[in-house]
Symmetry: C2
Subunit: 313 residues, 2 copies
Amino acid sequence: MRIGIDIGGTKIIGGIVERKGKVEITHRLPTGGKEGYRRVRERAIELINTILRESGVSRNEIKRIGIAAAGQIDKNSGTIIFSPNLGWHNAPLKKDMEKIFDAEVVIENDVNAATFGEWKFGLKERSRNVIGVFVGTGIGGGIIIDGRIYRGFSNVGGEIGHMIVNPHGYRCNCGNSGCFEAYCGGSYIVDRVRKSIYEGYRGKIWDLVEGNVDKLHTGHIEEAYLLGDTLCKSIWGETIEYMGAGLASLVNLFNPEIIVMGGGVINGSKQLIEDACAVMKKRAMKASLKDVRVERARYGDNAAIMGVAFIDV
Amino acid sequence: MRIGIDIGGTKIIGGIVERKGKVEITHRLPTGGKEGYRRVRERAIELINTILRESGVSRNEIKRIGIAAAGQIDKNSGTIIFSPNLGWHNAPLKKDMEKIFDAEVVIENDVNAATFGEWKFGLKERSRNVIGVFVGTGIGGGIIIDGRIYRGFSNVGGEIGHMIVNPHGYRCNCGNSGCFEAYCGGSYIVDRVRKSIYEGYRGKIWDLVEGNVDKLHTGHIEEAYLLGDTLCKSIWGETIEYMGAGLASLVNLFNPEIIVMGGGVINGSKQLIEDACAVMKKRAMKASLKDVRVERARYGDNAAIMGVAFIDV
């Protein structure tokens, strides 16, 4: 029996993952990341115990506890080297969990886990070369080559969000400028629109959010773009152009069979995938382009849980 | 006994490749690409026969004939699908050579072959994750993951020169705009400097080439940059900035252990690698950066011959 947990910036979610990927007895708790590593770890243990209690499964029936979290992870020791979302440095999560549970504990980067989940339970029969692009506040990426997650030399590869798409472009939270994420990550896009509104811009976007700038999200921005709002035509138009260029770069570099796209910005958009693909088709090289399909992720929040429960160690 | 051949835009070179990578009895002929596929193929056969004659090796002692060429290659059939340099479409080189020689014939993209050659005979003991960046008239790339060339789904991956580094940037020969190659490929850089000279620019660069714009190459441009020539400070400065940003993208995406750089622009430069690395270090993510080394290729023109003689089929 396998349990998958996803420790996110705002919530911890988990459940039992069946052999065919079905997630059962799902639970969630607020992360409370500000309380520090120890309290969050205790909350994850609490979540697992709740799942066990409800399922009637005993501890020694657990084959694996897989834990997905944002950040750089040392695969061998299962230590979270650095997680900006959670504020953790060198958190020995695998070691700590193994003291509590007599099961294999696997710690994995959340985007790698989600890409693997989407692949194993949705795309595997059709392809062994898949790239996951998850567009939320930032952009995370997962690369599957020949059925395995590509990690790179020191396990920190696959940072698709930090391809440089314009060296003189927007500042990125990583400290660099012009990263893919700085152009197409949700929080960056929303910040640009908010800034213009604070500076006095009033247009269709203002009406859409009824003057409540705090509730603004990328769904509104796309809607205003489609309605012809001047500001959003410029900002969302740029998002589409850079998203398409980023996809074209991935196609030229990796020659993948499938690019699977998920995350809040994609889920909240009507036609971002379609619009970005139109740009990608104009930009990518013909020989790579003819075999690639861009698809929407299908498992949402469950993908990481499903993936980490089954990912290769 | 293995023979390696490299069919380039201007010359065909070839030789016998010993087990440890030493290339012996090297010969070269002009490609004469304009005369078409059949004549070039005959010239390659002539070259092989010359090598055999001089070495005293008989035809049935040849274990492999490896042929490297620029372009997209169908690995299974050994057909060159498209080679812009040679002007070939669907050239059945493997099939044609197997009619003449009773040996295994392997056709490989020249940059993949060169990357593999540099790796197998120079870097293998130290790393199994290597990226080759060859900067000549354009930019070619080779990606070695776990000791094998990464090809992608339809064998056309690894197009490092066609990462988009600025969607609104310079036109690229591939039809796209803003490719890495359009910023850092030798012919593009030279064209930009030439254009300004034709438009009347006179500065240190003009003195360096003694007014003979035809002989201008990137070595002159770097030299003028280092001497403070205004035009070259701008154009070569941009080359350094984009080269550094391109390397940073590769580091963030692939987390490689070694990046090996070669090609005419690198060979003809004094400190492009060092200058670009300084930019890369400012831009790439710390976790990936700490393990990467950027090295100069050591085998020059022989790398592709060495690689194609031994590359995995």
